[in-house]
Assembly symmetry: C2
Homo-oligomer: 139 residues x 2
Amino acid sequence: MSMGMDSQMMLRPIGHIRTPWQTLDDCPGGPGRDGGTARLDILPEYAEGLFALEAPELDLLYWFDRAPRDVLRSVSPHDEAERGVFAMRSPHRPNPVALSRVPLIAVEGNTLVVGALDCLDGTALIDIKPVSRGGVPKR
Amino acid sequence: MSMGMDSQMMLRPIGHIRTPWQTLDDCPGGPGRDGGTARLDILPEYAEGLFALEAPELDLLYWFDRAPRDVLRSVSPHDEAERGVFAMRSPHRPNPVALSRVPLIAVEGNTLVVGALDCLDGTALIDIKPVSRGGVPKR
């Protein structure tokens, strides 16, 4: 297999995440608060991808655009132990793709209302994947 | 927030996934078989990111490099219903990033031995995130 294919791994946003967090200091830095919501504004050219979406939970991939990509070790905020970035879920990593599982609350045209997210308002959304009711990802 | 940041979403491989599957026809197309394993060969320049990695399970992000990126609707292989690609976990999607949760079996230098994966041998690995024992992703 040609490893030359690796050089073409470019992403484009399928939409943007709307949250109340306007600066990094605003971001709660953890799982969403009970009762909070976020909105996923899907770009019109990708809206057809939402057809027949009905999973109660979604795995979201999005881009930590403010995160440094040259950090390989850091101190975990939870136990203050120094760990490699692949041993933590910090935004600081070579490929700053965030992963969060949220409930799907409503579909309003090209906008999905989901459980609260702690990312900056306007964050680029990369992908949406459904989660099956049993918790096992469905294909 | 400047949406101009979106144009810089380029990924680079942190390593490559080794599986028995040499062609698309070989790929089992579903969750790993019991007893099978895959290997994650981490590139030397990113190996420091593995320091103190001890989670029993990992969320892996990798690249479906053979997948068409211009498909927005498809027929689900499970129930033969037509759905948007965000309502399925098919490789066909605008940003073909795969997501799989696997057990971490062993660490052998810069190589992680994990549960079986159904991707092509040599697939580019994008990220590794630990999963906490409670099933809630740890940060």
